[in-house]
């Protein structure tokens, strides 16, 4: 009897979960897959940079100066004679780190905030979301510039400041997800089965709210990287001796007339990364669209 049941279950047709479904759809989206592959490659390069960078980061060679791309220096050198590829690799570490860390900050605050507001509801929700509304109306871009001016160019502060801006949208998305899910009949069914709120959140709410959160996270990372590059370009973000793509673009823009490669290659690095993340985000959005998988 028991063995019969076990064989009944193990031999039953394997269903296709929505995640698997989404992955199958994503795999058909060539641009998103290209983005994913590029992104993974960039992350691996960034992680391995100290070991694989062709030249040392600090060593200057003032005699050499700026040279166009060559066999020794694939992407050329900057005005101090430093290898541009090495610079871009180290700059990418910083840019990507800002992107991922600040997004994580936003994710953590936003998801918690939104989930609580959406699940508790009522007055708590009203107060919490009113606060988000007010903060939304604040001109954050200007505030970040102000913060950077007032407190100096501090990387930790930059993470926090950018994360503090981006969590607002995350909170809104999470709240509306939780709120609409709460009204779904399967959550009512779980309540009527007697499941505890904790179990309902873990088993029924989070797995279903995850899709939009993943999509938005993927789209927040490039937005954050842009913000960092923007500030660094103005000289208000990352400071030498550290570097980032925004800073490299800023230097490149100063000398582009004589040494255009100093602008073009860092710009290319930033654009390609933004492309990958945006295409991946768009692809995920289409793939995870629950409405579509219904029919």
């Amino acid at each position: 009897m028991t063995s019969e049941i076990i064989s009944d279950i193990t031999e039953a047709e394997q269903g296709t979960s929505l995640w698997k479904d989404a992955w199958l759809r994503l795999r058909k989206n060539h641009l998103a897959i290209v983005g994913l592959v590029l992104l993974v490659a960039l992350i691996i390069i960034a992680l391995l940079t100290p070991w694989i960078a062709p030249y040392s980061y600090e060593t200057q060679n003032l005699e050499l100066g700026a040279t166009p791309p060559s066999a020794q220096h694939w992407l050329g050198t900057d005005i101090f004679g430093r290898d541009l590829m090495t610079q871009i690799m180290y700059g990418g570490r910083v840019s990507l780190a800002v992107g991922f860390v600040a997004t994580s900050v936003a994710l953590l605050i936003g998801v918690t905030w939104g989930a609580i507001a959406g699940y508790v509801g009522g007055r708590v929700d009203a107060v919490m979301m009113r606060l988000v509304d007010i903060m939304y109306a604040l001109p954050f871009m200007i505030f970040i510039v102000l913060l950077m001016v007032v407190f100096g160019r501090n990387m930790l502060l930059l993470f926090l400041a950018i994360g503090a801006v981006e969590w607002l949208t995350m909170a809104r998305i999470m709240r509306s997800q939780v709120q609409s899910l709460r009204q779904q009949e399967f959550v009512e069914a779980a309540i009527s089965l007697g499941l505890s709120p904790g179990k309902i959140i873990v088993r029924h709410l989070i797995p279903n709210a995850l899709g939009p959160i993943i999509v938005y996270t993927t789209l927040t990372i490039p937005a954050v990287m842009l913000l960092e590059a923007f500030l660094s370009f103005l000289g208000l973000g990352i400071q030498p001796p550290k570097t980032s793509w925004g800073l490299l673009i800023s230097y490149g823009a100063e000398t582009m007339e004589e040494f255009p490669w100093l602008l073009i290659f860092p710009g290319l690095a930033l654009s390609i990364t933004l492309f990958s993340l945006n295409f991946l985000g768009d692809g995920l959005r289409d793939a995870l669209d629950v409405r579509r998988s219904k029919d």
């Binding site: 009944d8 031999e11 047709e13 269903g15 929505l18 779980a190 089965l193 007697g194 029924h204």
Partner: protein, 528 residues
């Protein structure tokens, strides 16, 4: 010559998955002055067939593969887009299922109403307005002059459908295509709209195609009936033939799905649940008057009976069920379940009681967690209430699947891989998993196709006997409830208007509202 003569119409949809023949060589005709009903369940191709006549299916993926459709001698399928445009809205007009979404919310109804007239005919704005007002009056819009510049959201569903009808008729078309025009409406409103369509059709002597999933709806108005299944016509004939001499098994199945006689009530002496002065109000902010969804309702449910709860939208019927199960906060009143006041329970005690009462929901698409397999869904209650342990849970799940008639090899599949009826079986299995004594069934079949409805209702009745269930059956459909329930409660605006056995209510309704409700049951003549 017939007004419209469709011959061998074939329409298919080309998708990446392959070609799907939606309409497979159908032929029918519509006469001037007659109503032709096309009946079929979802996926039968009934709407696609009619939309393709007017070039209203998106192409691609849709594709007309062949056939002819002669409208006054002209083949619509061969007509160019600009020729079709001249026909659409002028000679052939349409009304659709959901009046809530079919009117443009950004435009006043007056503007929308005049649009087809101004576009197709050479009239001035003033003439168009006069004509529009006249039609609004005719379809029963009160005070058209003052509502002319209102937006759709200021009208109720029934009124919007009247506006849609006026809009369709404004150019005096020769053919009207009505696609499930009453499906989204309450029963009493449905009866009014059906009457309106029948009257307008007679007065104007035009041809009508009436598309519906429900034979009962067209029973009183259709002259000709065409029954479709999977893109083909299985049977066609006049109303008398279809209702009294149907030959095709599918037609007979559809007829059988129309609920029959009143249930012979059985005696159930023991009271299981006492509902006393139950109020469930929903606040609307600080100052606004609360919505009294359930307003001072008292009744008993006896052990082993099926109690029917009938009402239209806004009657509070669903909220009563949810209030008893403590799924919405109760404002005041008591619910005694086998001697325990449910409204006072919290925490562990409430969880213990929850095991004894369960709910079956209306929408099988929304009532199952899309990320859980059948196994997970059914195992959850079994494990939660310690009915099975980790070792025995598999056999418990399979037993439930057997009970609700689901094949065992579906156990690892996800909800989106099932049809609506199968999903409802899973939901029923989940509700029965805790071995409850009492089940609230909230419109459990109204989202399903008619033939599936009958299967699910039969399943519920069988299981009810097998498990010894007491059931609160919530529905908008008096005919279904009469067929199933031992006693019926009629609700109106949060209050109980009348109660009694099906026989009592149908033979001797005491209240005005009950009488109106009975009058509105589509195809009443079929019930007796």
């Amino acid at each position: 010559m017939a007004l419209l003569e469709v011959n061998n119409l074939e329409v298919s949809f080309v998708t990446r998955m392959g070609t799907n023949k939606a309409v497979d060589g159908i032929s029918f005709s519509v006469e001037t002055g007659k109503i032709t009903a096309i009946i079929g369940e979802s996926g039968s191709g009934k709407s696609v067939a009619c939309y393709s006549l007017l070039g209203l299916i998106p192409q691609p993926p849709g594709r007309v593969d062949g056939g002819t459709a002669l409208f006054e001698g002209k083949d619509l399928l061969q007509a160019s887009e600009s020729e079709l445009r001249k026909i659409r809205g002028r000679d052939v007009a349409m009304i659709f299922q959901d009046p809530m979404t079919c009117l443009n919310p950004f435009m006043t109804i007056g503007k929308q109403l005049m649009e087809p007239l101004l576009f197709h005919r050479d009239v001035t704005k003033a003439e168009a307005k006069a004509r529009a007002l006249q039609l609004l009056e005719e379809v029963g819009i009160r005070d058209p002059a003052n509502t002319f510049d209102n937006y759709p959201h200021e009208f109720s569903g029934g009124m919007r459908q009247r506006v849609m009808i006026a809009m369709a008729l404004i150019n005096e078309p020769k053919l009207l295509i009505a696609d499930e025009p009453t499906t989204a409406l309450d029963v009493t409103i449905q009866a009014q709209i059906l009457q309106l369509i029948a009257d307008l059709q007679k007065n104007r002597d035009i041809g009508v195609i009436f598309i519906s999933h429900d034979l009962a709806v067209v029973a009183d108005i259709a002259d000709q009936i065409v029954v479709m299944q999977q893109g083909k016509i299985v049977e066609a004939g006049d109303s008398d033939h279809i209702f009294h001499h149907a030959e095709h098994p599918y037609t007979q199945k559809l007829l059988a799905a129309i609920p029959g006689d009143s249930k012979q009530p059985e005696a159930h002496p023991e009271t299981l649940i006492e509902v006393r002065n139950l109020c469930t109000w929903f606040g609307q902010g600080k100052d606004a008057e609360p919505v009294k969804a359930v307003d001072d309702v008292s009744f008993d449910i006896r052990r082993g009976e099926i109690l029917g709860l009938v009402g239209e939208s806004g009657s509070g019927k669903s909220t009563i069920g949810r209030s008893i199960l403590r799924l919405v906060p109760v404002t005041s009143g008591h619910v005694n379940f086998d001697g325990t006041d449910l409204t006072q329970l919290e925490g562990g005690a409430l969880k213990q009681m929850r095991r004894r009462m369960q709910m079956i929901f209306q929408d099988p698409f929304a009532s199952l967690n899309p990320r859980m397999t059948v196994f997970d869904t059914l195992a959850e209650p079994l494990l939660l209430h310690g009915i099975e342990n980790r070792k025995t849970v598999a056999s418990g799940v399979l037993k439930l699947m057997d009970d609700v008639g689901l094949a065992r090899n579906f156990v690892r599949k996800y909800p989106h891989e099932f049809s609506g009826g199968q999903r409802q079986r899973i939901a029923i299995g989940r509700a029965l998993a805790t071995r409850p004594e009492f089940v609230v069934a909230d419109e459990p079949v109204s989202a399903l196709d008619v033939t599936i409805q009958a299967q699910i209702l039969d399943l519920m009745l069988d299981l009810g006997k097998e498990y010894g269930l007491t059931m609160l059956f919530v529905s908008h459909d008096l005919a279904v409830v009469r067929h199933l329930a031992d006693r019926i409660l009629v609700l109106y605006k949060g209050k109980v208007v009348e109660q009694g056995t099906g026989g009592e209510l149908f033979e001797h309704p005491k209240e005005e509202y009950t009488r109106a409700l009975l009058q509105s049951i589509p195809g009443r003549s079929l019930l007796d």
